[in-house]
Each structure stands twice: as C-alpha cells, then as structure tokens.
Amino acid sequence: MKQIMKQMKQTRAPLVFALAVAIAATISPIPVAAQSATASNDTAPSPIQIAQGAKAWSENCGRCHNYRDPKEFSDKNWDVIVNHMRTIAPLPGGVARQIKAFLKASN
C-alpha cells in the first residue's frame, strides 16, 4: 500500500505542474489574443510611452550588464532582443514594450 501511495505521489507531481500551468493560463489578466493586439508593432508609440521606456531602460538594463547603445541594433533586432530579455531578466510585458519604444525612437 505504501508503495502504491509512493507511486501515486510520483505520478501526481507532473499532473500538479500541468494543472498549475492551466490555472495560470486561465486566470491570466490579458489573454494571448488580446495581448497580441496590444503588443502590435504597427502602432506608433506615444511620447509618453517613449519617456516611460527611457526610465524603464535606465532602471532595468544595467542591472546585469552595461547599457547598450540604442544605435547598435535596428528596430527589428530590438524587437527580438528585448523579448529575449523579457523572458530571461525577466521583465513585465508592459515594461518590455516601453523599453522597445524608447530604443526604437533612439536608434
């Protein structure tokens, strides 16, 4: 019986993890599709968003490495690079978009 319980515990762990994923995805405040629209690259950032991006850039991008010059990369490069940093830093999605807006306006 003890062995059976042990095996159940072992098989339960991945299920708990999968459940956590499902719950997290379900209770997310911004569904994926909606985020796609808000994160669209087609809309030009406002001056306020650029200013917020400058602040976010100064507060986040020097925590691990030196600040990189916005002119080092193109807009499209920054799109990919900042998404990389968004996942590994990690950064909230809104902050990442502000930083992108600043970098693209400054390169």
Binding site: V80, P92, G94
Partner: protein
C-alpha cells in the same frame, strides 16, 4: 532771267529722281520682305528642331521618372513588407579569447582558443519566442567541443506569464542565469564552486517552466517555477552532482524548483530559489543501487547603483545517504549524507564616477572572494577552496572588454595556486 532755266532743270531733276525712287520702291520692298520671311522661316525651323529635341528629352525624362517611381513603389512595398514581417530573428552571442599563467603543478601557461557562443533568437510577433545557444570551444588536445547551452521555446502568454519548454538555463540563483557570459562576468573566471564539475551550481535543466515578472506598487516581483529531468551523479565521485540539463530522466523522478525575486528599488534585487529532486546511484561494476533526495537552496542579492556593482550569492546543496558506486569500475557502497556550500561576494566600481577622463573612466577594478566547501563523502571534498580574485577591466565599448586578474586559490586538500588571467570578451 538765267535763273529760271536753272530752276527748271533742278525741278526736272528732282521730278525725275522722285519718279525713279517711287518706281523702284515696290521692288526693293518685295526683296526685303522675302529675306525677312526666309529668316523667320529658318528661325522657326530651328525652333521647331529645338522643340523636337526638347520633346524627345521630355519623353526620355518621363520614362526615367516612371522607372524611378516604379522602383520607389517596389522599395516602399518591400519596406512595408519588412515592417509587417511576422517572424524576426537576430544572431546574438559572445566570443572570448584568453591567456592563463599559473604555478599549479603539472600545468603550463597557455593561450585559450577563442571560444564563441552564438545565440539564435527567433520571434513570432510578440507571442512566441525561440532561443538557442551553442557553445564552441577548442580543447587542449586540439579537438572542437560543441555543446547546446540552452534551446527553448517561449509562449509570451500574458504580460506577467511566459511558458517555457525545452532546455533552459537554470533559474536557481543569479550568476548562471544572468552573469556567466564572459562579456558580462567582470572577472575572467567563475567563482569557486559555481562550476559544471565539482561544484554545486545548477547550470541548466530540460523541462518546462513558468516565469514572469509583475509590479507591486513601486516594486517588481519576478518568479520562475519549473519541472525537469533533474540532476545526476557524475561518473566519478569527486565531480559530485552534475546539474547540466539531461535529455532524458534516468529515474522517473522529476526535479521541481523555482525562484522568487524582488526588486524593492530599481538598483536593488534579492532572490531566493531552490530545487528538490531524487538522484539515482551509479551502477559501476554492477549491483543494486538506490535513490536519494537531493536539494539545492540559493540566496542572491545585487546592488547596482551608478558606477557601483556589488553582488553575492550563496548555494547550499544536500544529498541524503545513497547506495552508489564511487566510480565506473567499483561496486555500489553506501555513501553518507553529503553537503556542498559555495558562495561569493563581489565589488566592482567603474572609474567614470570619479574622473572625466574618458580613458581612465573606462577602467573598472573588481574584487571577488569565493569559497567552496563540502562534507560527507571524502571524495566530494577534493575541490574545497577559498579564492581571492583581484581584477582590472577596460571597457572599449559597452560589450567589449579586456580583463586582467590575479587569483589566489587556497585549496583544502592540495597545494595552493596563483593564477594570472588575461581575457578579451565581446558580446554581440
């Protein structure tokens, strides 16, 4: 009376002359009119020729203009296509070249072959993101080593949730995840104990992970929760536990772990992280082996304000007593509970904070103390070390650095070493 005939003759002459003039006028006028007309016709012909030439030039210009407009339209269309492209990619990474001089017994001063770690970043809109890093280096025997450092797909589900699957850098601690690339690491070497073999820092994991960050008031929290195949015992006991993502699970016991980080201020961050797993004993020459719990706990902190960069991290790991072979040719034996402890503290200061001189301002002195201790099985304690590292960096650019550093390595079970390292690193 003689004046009359003379007057008459003069009058007659005048009359005759007048008649002659009057009679000749129409002919002269006609001749002059023909000449003028001819000139006008010639002039008009010249103007006509000029106009024909101009018309030809105009036609040529029109054709060139139309061609230019076509090219502009094509370029605009291409630019428009580029802007709206759904899939974008970027080749990032870093390269390293170094030289090491050491007084270690049996080791020679050597140039290190330029290693390179290309990172492929591919994104689909702001929804999906793939990242893969290769690590290429030349070994001392001349052969080339190729490793997959990480390779994972990320679904940017919400502003504060990313789902990651594949091989990813371990979220345990701060150094491996954020600081180990040579263009970021301020010293040429890793801290004692924060290494692949013989240390206790988790490097990578193969599995799935949830991670993200979210603001709380004026502060920011970040988190990561993962499940993976977990670590394994190294083939030889002195190398301890290997925590570099395995492509399969050898004991059907997944590792679970995560990290919670908090940034109360933009320049201050702290994090706690941990992992729990089970490790299967090595079979060695044959026989029954066991499985035991292996835990890792980690605390990290960083202060990065202005020109100061101060940070540290502590890792503790523990393996319950385990029935395992010590090496590949021995029979399994029961080894005792074993623990590993490693930590470092590092201070760096960019001289730009105290001088306006551009050259001097690019220098950055660095001091780091690190220590690695182990207890339990005697073989595990072979790498116990206290290390003092003193270095000086020169930053040619934000991601191009030359480093020189002296290390004093005080080993518990072998002769101490003094090492001088010179390194060039370039992040791109």
């Amino acid at each position: 009376m003689t004046e009359k005939p003379a007057r008459a003759a003069v009058a007659l002459g005048i009359a005759a002359l007048s008649m002659a003039v009057v009679a000749g006028l129409p002919a002269r006028a006609a001749a002059q009119s023909d000449e003028a007309l001819r000139h006008r016709i010639e002039a008009m012909e010249q103007r006509l020729d000029q106009m024909n030439d101009m018309a030809k030039q105009l036609e040529t210009l029109k054709q060139e203009l139309a061609k230019t407009r076509q090219q502009e339209t094509a370029a605009a269309r291409q630019a428009s296509t580029d802007d709206s492209r759904s899939i974008n990619w970027h080749l990032a990474g870093f390269g390293t070249a170094d030289y090491t001089a050491t007084n270690a017994s049996g080791e020679n001063d050597s140039f290190g072959a330029g290693g390179i770690s290309p990172i492929f970043l591919v994104g689909y809109k702001d929804l999906v993101f793939w990242e893969s890093e290769l690590e290429l280096s030349t070994l001392t025997d001349g052969s080339t080593k190729l490793e997959l450092e990480f390779s994972n797909i990320n679904l940017l589900a919400t502003d504060w949730l990313t789902l990651t699957a594949g091989k990813f850098l371990s979220p345990i601690g701060d150094f491996q995840q954020h600081l180990h690339p040579t263009w970021i690491n301020k010293l040429p070497d890793r801290p004692a104990g924060f290494v692949e073999d013989g240390g206790n820092e988790p490097l990578s994991e193969v599995g799935a992970m949830l991670r993200g960050a979210f603001p709380v008031g004026s502060t920011t929290f970040d988190y990561a929760v993962f499940a993976g195949n977990g670590p394994r015992l190294n083939d030889t006991a002195d190398a301890g536990v290997k925590m570099e993502g395995f492509g399969g699970d050898d004991n059907n016991n997944k590792a679970f772990g995560g990290r919670i980080g908090w940034r109360p201020l933009p320049y201050l961050s702290v994090g706690v992280s941990g992992m729990r797993s089970k490790i299967k004993g090595n079979v060695g020459s044959g026989g029954t082996v066991g499985q035991s719990v292996y835990d890792v706990e980690d605390i990290d902190a960083a202060f990065t304000k202005g020109n100061w960069d101060i940070r540290g991290e502590y890792i503790r790991s523990h393996l319950d007593n385990l029935l395992t072979a010590i090496d590949l040719v021995s029979a399994p034996v029961q080894i005792p509970d074993s623990s590993w402890h490693s930590w470092y503290a590092q201070v760096a200061y960019r001289l730009a904070g105290i001088t306006d001189n551009k050259v001097l301002g690019n220098f950055e002195p660095v001091v780091r103390y690190s220590q690695f201790d182990a207890s339990g099985l005697a073989d595990f304690t072979g790498n116990e070390e206290k290390r003092l590292s003193v270095g000086l960096d020169y930053w040619f650019a934000p991601s191009l650095v030359a480093k020189i550093a002296y290390e004093n390595k005080d080993f518990a079970n072998k002769a101490n070493e003094d090492v001088l390292r010179v390194q060039m690193a370039f992040g791109f």
